[in-house]
């Protein structure tokens, strides 16, 4: 089962390696990982999407917690959370397909952020499912290049993490 886990870590060099090495060393799977500093510049927040059965996910959570540089781990899977991912998609824009690209873009509340005579670059934000959907729709037009940020998540409601 797919799990989305947020990890609050010390913003120090080598921490990313500790996390990534933990996953590779123990044979855990990383689907995506995104990381950036928090409001408190001494901390970073990672969002990791992983998958595995209950036993593996329990180990993932415990092993993450065990790292000295890890301050907090939240598995959002059983919580109500907002999940967003951004994608930049470079798509071939022929005379015949330009209108369709713009229409698809509009439906997904995307933006065209770069234009050349033969190519549009589309920026879109949404849940991974939504990002998958727009990619599927743009694919027939010819995707030349694609980059996805990997999802970031926040729990719903007024409650916030301390020190983020």
């Amino acid at each position: 089962m797919r799990h989305t886990i947020s990890v609050l870590v010390e913003n120090e060099f080598g921490v990313l390696t500790r996390i990534a090495g933990l996953f590779s060393g123990r044979g855990f799977n990383i689907e995506s990982l995104s990381v950036a500093p928090t409001l408190d510049p001494t901390l970073s927040r990672m969002t990791i999407v992983t998958s595995g059965d209950d036993r593996i996910i329990e180990q993932v959570n415990k092993q993450l917690n065990k790292l000295i540089d890890t301050i907090k781990v939240i598995d959002f899977t059983n919580e109500d959370f907002i999940e967003r991912e951004m994608a930049l998609i470079k798509v071939t824009a022929e005379e015949s397909t330009r209108a369709e690209i713009l229409r698809v873009c509009d439906i997904f509340r995307g933006k065209v952020v770069d234009v050349t005579p033969k190519c549009y670059t589309v920026e879109v934000t949404g849940s991974p499912v939504k990002v998958n959907a727009i990619i599927d729709l743009l694919r027939p037009m010819g995707i030349k290049e694609l980059v996805r940020s990997g999802p970031v998540v926040l729990g719903r409601g007024p409650k916030g993490w301390k020190g983020n």
């Binding site: 060099f13 080598g14 329990e58 180990q59 790292l67 000295i68 890890t70």
Partner: protein, 565 residues
């Protein structure tokens, strides 16, 4: 007052109560070695950095203190890797200081540069690259705290040469602040109560004791619990010596080379209490048939150990000794229930006694050949009760675990998790440094001994009277045993074709060498060795194809033991 980084390091070690360190000098630690002259810290120069780390490990296991080793950058540092991994697998508190090339050269493939932080990340509890001398005292304080608290383990401090030379105001911190590291010490009282309740209603309980009992010095509490409950106790290799082997409730070791009665008791138990143990594959055998009828209570300080390999019905996270004290206290107030439980356990103890009677630990004695088990028994008989025994890895290690009855805690130092050949001699060195007056014996095989035999020089130089018993079968015996049993006797590369004269080797280093080739010489040689000052090698030419039995074949269940080959 401002001090250089290398002085700050030594001052900080003194603040941590460090008296002895083990190491090997080199270019990037030369400043530290310069300051060591005239320091109150004693330095033991080993002949290899791996041995320095094993010696610090042996020192830590024998004393319970944090062991400290030091090595230079590059090859010095990479030579420490096996020692660090070994300490990590067995949760041994240790701080390893490595020199590093100057910060400005890091990443430049400089002379004797290795990314030690990268290399040691998966085999340390934590590691630090010190980039600013101002952080050094804090990092050392944190390192010692991390190494000894929670589930202990090795911490590496990688110290660039320019940081050793730079100066900063020295003030050793009183407290440690690590917002991401708060190990649980006290066990949850409600869970402990539940465990006590489960134990009082158990009909077939077994206490399964691991290295946690040694690490927390919980032997007295463990003995009290076992005797109160009248529950049989089995230990892992790491738990060995934390419960007296000759106690009527002792089942000896469980697992692959465990006793028949320990493995049968675990398989038939209804409540299995794991105390500071981690259900290693050498202990459980096939997981699906491991303790199939038992409710499992798992006490461990490391939450990741719990439910990692086996299902657990009642987890208790915390310090083993603290938890055992709480259990004992609760049981002391439940005298009637305990009396009832003791009565109800009688049939179980009879059942266990019958298994013990059916298949006791034994071997076939010989009139012509020295049996390795016989040597171990004689070593026990002729040594002091508080003798510290180290082993290497292989058949001799298992025979020591099986036939050397340990009675006192911290007297058996052996590489459990990593299974490091070459561990025993340097570990004995470290233990002897810690306890100059006690008997220290390294029980070795001819294969393992040759992996760190250079440490004979260290023993002689520092007048460390370690007695080394080499069970010489001219084979890599454990691998040969597997080849005999599972590979149709195809002895691929396990015969050490060249017979070494270990007595001459001893003499070359200025130690004493003795040899026994017949059973009747064994006792005499051991007595002579124990009476000889300084390090002694006792070489026993043992029967070559003796096997360690019983044996649970890899992948089989604990109840599928092979009893004799």
């Amino acid at each position: 007052m401002k001090l250089t980084g290398s002085k700050i390091l030594l001052e900080s070690l003194i603040h941590e109560g460090v008296e002895t360190i083990f190491g090997y000098p080199g270019g990037t630690v030369i400043n530290i070695y310069d300051d060591l002259m005239g320091s109150s810290i004693k330095h033991v120069l080993t002949r290899h950095e791996q041995a320095a780390v094993h010696a610090a490990d042996g020192y830590a296991r024998a004393t319970g203190k944090v062991g400290v080793a030091i090595a230079t950058s590059g090859p010095g540092a990479t030579n420490t890797i096996t020692g660090i991994a070994n300490a990590y697998m067995d949760s041994i508190p240790m701080v390893v200081i490595t020199g590093q090339v100057p910060t400005g050269l890091i990443g430049n493939d400089a002379f004797q540069e290795a990314d030690l932080i990268g290399i040691t990340r998966p085999i340390t509890k934590h590691n630090y690259l010190v980039k600013d001398v101002k952080d050094l005292a804090r990092i050392i304080k944190q390192s010692f705290y991390i190494a000894r608290s929670g589930r202990p383990g090795p911490v590496v401090i990688d110290l660039p040469k320019d940081v050793q030379v730079a100066t900063a105001k020295f003030e050793y911190p009183d407290t440690v602040e690590l917002r991401g590291y708060k190990p649980t010490f006290s066990g949850n009282v409600r869970m402990i109560e539940k465990a006590v309740k489960m134990l009082l209603t158990a009909k077939k309980p077994v206490l399964y004791v691991g290295g946690g009992a040694t690490l927390t010095d919980a032997h007295a509490e463990l003995l009290e619990l076992a005797e109160t409950l009248q529950a049989p106790v089995t230990t892992t290799l790491m738990g060995m010596a934390s419960f007296p082997s000759r106690h009527p409730l002792s089942l000896g070791m469980l697992g692959m080379h465990g006793t028949y009665y320990a493995n049968m008791a675990v398989t038939n138990s209804d409540v299995l209490v794991a105390l500071g143990a981690r259900f290693d594959d050498r202990v459980t055998g096939k997981i699906s048939t491991f303790a199939p009828h038992a409710k499992i209570i798992h006490v461990d300080v490391d939450p990741t150990s719990i439910k990692k390999n086996v299902r657990v019905d009642l987890p208790i996270v915390g310090d083993l000794r603290d938890i055992l004290q709480k259990m004992n206290k609760m049981l002391a107030e439940l005298k009637d229930e305990v009396a009832q439980e003791n009565e109800a356990l009688k049939p179980w103890l009879q059942e266990v006694a019958a298994w013990r009677k059916d298949h006791p630990m034994s071997y076939k004695q010989s009139k012509t050949e020295i049996k390795p088990q016989f040597v171990i028994e004689k070593l026990r008989e002729l040594s002091n009760d508080d003798a510290i025994v180290t082993t290497e890895v292989g058949q001799h290690q298992m025979w020591t675990a099986q036939f050397f009855d340990f009675t006192q805690p911290r007297t058996f130092l052996s590489s459990g998790g990593l299974g490091t050949m070459g561990y025993g001699l340097p570990a004995a060195l470290g233990a002897q440094v810690a306890f100059p007056e006690r008997q220290v014996i390294d029980i070795s095989g001819d294969g393992s001994f040759q992996m760190n035999s250079q440490e004979l020089a260290t023993l002689v130089q520092y007048r460390l009277p370690v007695k080394i018993a080499i069970l010489n079968n001219n084979f890599l015996g454990m691998v040969r045993q597997w080849q005999q049993l599972f590979f149709d006797k195809r002895y691929s590369q396990t015969c050490m074709e060249l017979p070494i004269d270990f007595t001459k080797l001893a003499e070359a280093y200025g130690a004493t060498g003795l040899r026994a080739t017949k059973p009747e010489e064994v006792e005499e040689i051991i007595k002579k060795a124990f009476a000889t000052p300084g390090p002694v090698i006792m070489e026993f030419k043992v029967s070559r194809e003796e096997n360690v039995m019983p044996m649970v074949p890899a992948g089989a269940g604990l109840n599928e033991m092979v009893l004799a080959s």
